[in-house]
Each structure stands twice: as structure tokens, then as C-alpha cells.
């Protein structure tokens, strides 16, 4: 499965300045692992040492919060768009 991963500016610096990455995987966790392998500097910003998402970083799969779809176990399909957003806003 090929999906698109959109990064915020603060993370794009760790992906050769690219804000949009193509990635592969059947789940969100697979996609994150794929990107982490290709961009080792980005890896610790996307998941903790146990391979779990951080509370400050939210993933959206096609505009829906991934935590409502099983977190890193969320299924992704060919052509899906994944957005990474620092969870700082609100109120």
C-alpha cells in the first residue's frame, strides 16, 4: 500500500526538508516504521522507544484522528493521506 505522509515544518527538517513523503504499509504503525527506517532522525519524533505514539503528536488518516481507529493499528489503504500534527492547539 502506498500512502502520503504530510509533515509539519518542524519535522520536515528531519526528512531532508520534505513536507510530503510517500510511504508503505498496511497499518499506520507500518507506515511510521517505513518512514522511521528511511529517515532515522525523524524516527524518535514520531514514536517513543517502545514504538508507541507520543501524547503530543497526533496522526490523522484521511482527516480522522487515528486514535479513534486503533492508533498505530489503524488500517491504511492505497492512496490514503496521513497528516502528522503536534497536539498543541485547542480551547
Amino acid at each position: 500500500m502506498s500512502v502520503t505522509l504530510q509533515l509539519p515544518a518542524v519535522l520536515a527538517k528531519l526528512a531532508d526538508g520534505r513536507r510530503t513523503l510517500e510511504a508503505r504499509g498496511a497499518t499506520l504503525g507500518d507506515v511510521v516504521a517505513d518512514v522511521a527506517t528511511r529517515f532515522p532522525g525523524l524516527a524518535p519524533r514520531l514514536r517513543d522507544t517502545a514504538g508507541q505514539p507520543y501524547p503530543f503528536v497526533t496522526f490523522y488518516v484521511n482527516d480522522d484522528d487515528a486514535r479513534l481507529q486503533g492508533g498505530f493499528a489503524a488500517t491504511v489503504r492505497d492512496g490514503d493521506e496521513i497528516i502528522v500534527v503536534p497536539a498543541i492547539a485547542g480551547g
Binding site: A9, P55, V57, D65, L68, P86, I88, A89, G90, G91
Partner: protein, 416 residues
Amino acid sequence: MTTSVAAPAFRPRPQVCRACGALHEPAPIAVCEQCLGPLDPVFDAARVTPTRDAIAARPWSLWRYREWLPFDGEPLLSLDTGGTPLVEAPRLAALLGVAHVWVKNDAVSHPSLSFKDRVVATAINAAAAFGLDTIGCASTGNLANAVAAQAARAGLKAWIFVPEDLETAKIVGTGVYGARLVRVRGHYDDVNRLCAQVADLFGWGIVNVNLRGYYGEGSKTMAFEIAEQLGWRLPTAVVAPMAGGSLVTKLRKGFREFSAAGLVTGGAPRIFGAQAAGCAPIVRLVRENADAVTPVIPQTIARSIAIGNPADGLFAKRAILESGGWAAAVSDAELVAGIRLLAEAVGIFTETAGGVTVAAALALAGEDRFAADDDVVLCITGNGLKTVDAVAPVLRASPVIAPRVAEVRALVKDGS
């Protein structure tokens, strides 16, 4: 010969990461470049802070506490926000079974009738200092009003993003100022996510996204005013509504800062949080002492606090539990009753979030969370004229009569 001393240039303070401690120079950023944690302004510990008398001699606005706001120098914009009434409510005290109740009435905040005027007053000064010509926000309504009003006065452009189903009063109360108002299909959390991307791409000052560190500190002024209005004394308990969860954390921070400065008597108040049952992720965190927010899809008429994915949820839980407080969620019917109770017992017309606060206070009293000698402050953060549809259906019908005394006499006799 006289020597003039120029006032120090206005400048936002540096920020530090709440998660990893990394220091960041003043900038319109709100996330740590090291770990993506939230940034908080850093204060100069050696700064000179004013005495009670010096504060009391200043104009009655939130800037009288400027040494505790995240700037150096004198602010230039929104100088007359803050200074809302603290109203004693003995009938509510009797209902709650406590010594005293006061209502901190930000329903009459200047200029846009909600406590969001406070946070925009600080954020807009940061935006101007950073040279930004456009500000904006993701909003459930009150923040939209506050940003639009203060941007108009300051001559800044405003882009406001809200859920499409917002109350008419909040739509009109934003558009009237000339702001660019965009209604987004979805809930607030969808709007919020979009604004995080917008702030990242367009270079605007989205007050509750990339100016969030400077924005959030404005909330502390509600605590400062409460303490001063009580005669430089802290209440024993405070009840506040929770949306993203920031307000309860900033109330606690504000009370602690005034205690540390030696300005007030009394111990740190217990902080109590209130949410609508149809969107209560922080109440759940508190009651289950959970370690992570479980996002929810909001289902409540309390739209102004309907945030299903609260960014400050964990910090709010910590502030509440460390203070010895608790949290409660109430149904939409209970919040409507809360609006009516505050109006009928105190003469203050609040919006749905205020109804949640009042109803949650009653629920907490029912759980014996208050003591008989408690001095309780209810934080009322918005105005009922913005959400009239919530209560209109349940109010007593207004009879239409001919202009004849006999008809009035019949109504009086009927007693209805």
C-alpha cells in the same frame, strides 16, 4: 536639564519546553523543536514585582498584573481588557452548603463578552511584536468573537475558523468586525487540526496554535483578579469549565504565582473542572486517573467547550488532582437548569458553558466535594446572549395582552 528615560521595548519572553526543558528564543512557535512538547514562556526570576498597593494604583485591567504576563516592556494593544466583576451569590452558597460563593463574571468581559478576551489580549500583543499582520484562531465561538474584535481595533487582518454548526450569535458576532470567517465541515477538533496546518503553512499568528504560549498566560489574570477582589486572599475552591483544559491549569498557576510573590493569604484552592457529559474526556481522565486522553466525538449543546481531543487534558488532570480537586460532567438538561439557576439566583445570564459550571458545582456538592466552610468561586466564562436557543424553549411563556389593566389584573390573579 532633564533626562528622559525611554520605556523598554515591548518584547515577548523566551519559551521553554514543558516536556524536555529545551529553551527557545521568542518566536511565534508553540511546539518544541526537539520533542514537539508544548512551550511555556520563561519569566525572569530576578524581575521586580509590584506590591499590592502598586498593583491597586494601576488601571483596572488585566495589564495591572503585567509582571506575571510573558513580556518585557509596556504592551500597546487591548489595554482595557480584564477587570470583570466578582459577584457574591449567597443563594448559591446555601444550595451548595458552603460558607460563600462568588461568581467571577467574565460574561461581561470587554470587548466580546467572554474570558477569551483575556487570552487574545496577550496573544495579539505577541503577534504585533513579532511583526505579524494577520492573526486567526480555531474556535468554538467565543475565541472567534474575541480575535475578530481585537484584530479590528488593532488594524490587523483576521482569519477565523469555526465548526459549521456554530450558534448564529457567534457567527454574527465574528463577521460583524470584518474578519474573514470560515466555517469548516466537522467538529472543533477538525477545525483545530486544520488550523495547526494553516499556522504551519501561511505564517499567520493563529492565537491558540503558534501563539499559544503567549495566549495561555492571559488566563492567569482571572486568578489574579479573584485573589485581589477577595481582598488579597485565595478562595478555598474554584470551579471552572474545561474545553481544551488550559484554563484550570492557568488558574492553578496564577494562584500559585501570587502565593509565591507573597501577595495573598490562604492556601492553594482546590480546582474543580466541569464538562458536559456529551464531551467529557478530561472528567474521565480525572475520575479514572487515566494516563492518556481518549478522544470523543462531542454530542452536547455546550458547543463552546465541545473539544473531544483536549490538548491540555493531561495537564488539566494533574492540576486538578494535585490541588485536591475533582471533576464532574453534567447532562444538557442539567446545564440548561444551571443557566436558569444562575440567572434567577444571581442575576447573571451565562451561556451553555456557564450552565455546565453551575450544574457541575451542584453535582460536586452532591458528592460531598465541598466543606461547610468553603469559599467557592465559580468561573463564568461566557454570555448567555450568545446561546439563547439553549434556554428559550424552557422559559415561561410570555402572554400577549391588550393594553388594558383588566388583562394585567387577570394575569396577577391567575398567578401564572
